[in-house]
Each structure stands twice: as structure tokens, then as C-alpha cells.
């Protein structure tokens, strides 16, 4: 049981580390959201599942599992809402060499 706990928390820390590296190194806002939005959700879920496994079956571990379910529901929702707000306020995605995006004129016409 303890070995499984250590394994789950180590995998969670690995996902957190890769998310942080992507968050620091990627070139614009959308690719940074791509790095953090998924790996933070998975890292938090795996780490909290390992801690609930270490606690055993009690009210505390059920609360930790409630936190896991809550994070699995709310973290992609928050990421989507923030991405939608950035897209609606006119932030353009990064392209290689600054090439124009194909549907840029369509979206500018809509606004």
C-alpha cells in the first residue's frame, strides 16, 4: 500500500513538473494553457488519490476523494472559461514566423 502511495505521488509530481516547465517555456498564452490545463488536473488527481490510499478507509479519505472529483470537474471548466475570455477579447494565437491565421478576417468581421 505504501509503495503504491509513493508511486502515485511520484507520477503526480512528474506531471506537475512537466506542466510547470511548459508553463514557463511555451511562447504564447494558448500553448501555456495547453501545458497547464491537462497536466495540473492529472497531477492533482493522482497525488490526492495516493494520499487517500495512504489514509485508508475513513471519512477523511472520502473527503479527499470528493476533492479529486471536484478538481476533475472544475479545472477543465476554469481552463475553458479563461480560454474563451481570452479568445473573445481578441488575443491572437502565436504562429511560427508570425504568419497570418486563415480565419482571422472572419473573426474580425464578426466582432
Amino acid at each position: 500500500m505504501i509503495v503504491l502511495t509513493i508511486l502515485l505521488i511520484s507520477v503526480g509530481i512528474f506531471f506537475f513538473t512537466t506542466g510547470t516547465i511548459g508553463f514557463l517555456r511555451f511562447p504564447d498564452f494558448y500553448s501555456r494553457m495547453h501545458a497547464t490545463g491537462k497536466s495540473d488536473t492529472l497531477g492533482a488527481a493522482l497525488s490526492l488519490a495516493g494520499l487517500a490510499l495512504y489514509e485508508g478507509f475513513s471519512l477523511t479519505s472520502i473527503k479527499i476523494l470528493i476533492i479529486v472529483i471536484f478538481i476533475l470537474m472544475t479545472s477543465p471548466t476554469a481552463t475553458h472559461a479563461l480560454l474563451r475570455a481570452a479568445f473573445d477579447s481578441g488575443m491572437l494565437p502565436w504562429t511560427k514566423g508570425g504568419q497570418p491565421i486563415r480565419d482571422e478576417e472572419v473573426r474580425r468581421g464578426q466582432k
Partner: protein, 91 residues
């Protein structure tokens, strides 16, 4: 006892990652980079709170604080994103 030392090391690594994310919150271009930085730091803080509960042997108290922290993190991100969606941001 060995497992609690492991939890302490994991907490220190999490604190280091929080400081790396704090770079993007302070220097990040635009307001949305700062908001997503605060969101990432909040998720990491939630894990640190549960780990601190296991280290200090007060997990029944710390897990409630962690649950409230998860709720606050979600509400802050949603409120900030809706506010800037309506207001618009000048780049």
C-alpha cells in the same frame, strides 16, 4: 516515519514549483497569463495543504481547509474570466 519524510520532500519540491510559476505571475505579458498563473499556484497549494496535514498529523482539519481552497480557486478563476470577457482587454 519514512513516509512522512517523503511527504516533506514532496512539499519542498512543490514549493519550488510554486516559485517557478510565480515568475509568470509577476512578469507575464498581459492579464490572462497572470490569472492562469494564480490558478496553477492554487492547485499546487491545495496539494501542499493535504501534505502538511499528513506531516503534522492533523489531516481531519487540513482536508476541510483544502476543500474550501479548491472552491475558492475555481470561483476566483471563473469570476475573473467572466469579468475580462465582458470588459475586454487592450493589448
Amino acid at each position: 516515519m519514512i513516509v512522512e519524510d517523503f511527504f516533506l520532500i514532496i512539499s519542498l519540491i512543490m514549493g519550488l514549483l510554486v516559485f517557478f510559476c510565480l515568475y509568470r505571475v509577476v512578469y507575464g505579458p498581459g492579464v490572462f497569463n497572470r490569472i492562469i498563473g494564480v490558478n496553477v499556484i492554487g492547485t499546487k497549494t491545495l496539494i501542499i495543504l493535504v501534505l502538511m496535514g499528513f506531516i503534522y498529523r492533523r489531516i481531519d482539519m487540513f482536508v476541510d481547509i483544502s476543500l474550501v481552497y479548491a472552491l475558492l480557486n475555481f470561483i476566483v478563476t471563473i469570476a475573473a474570466s467572466i469579468y475580462f470577457q465582458r470588459k475586454g482587454v487592450h493589448h
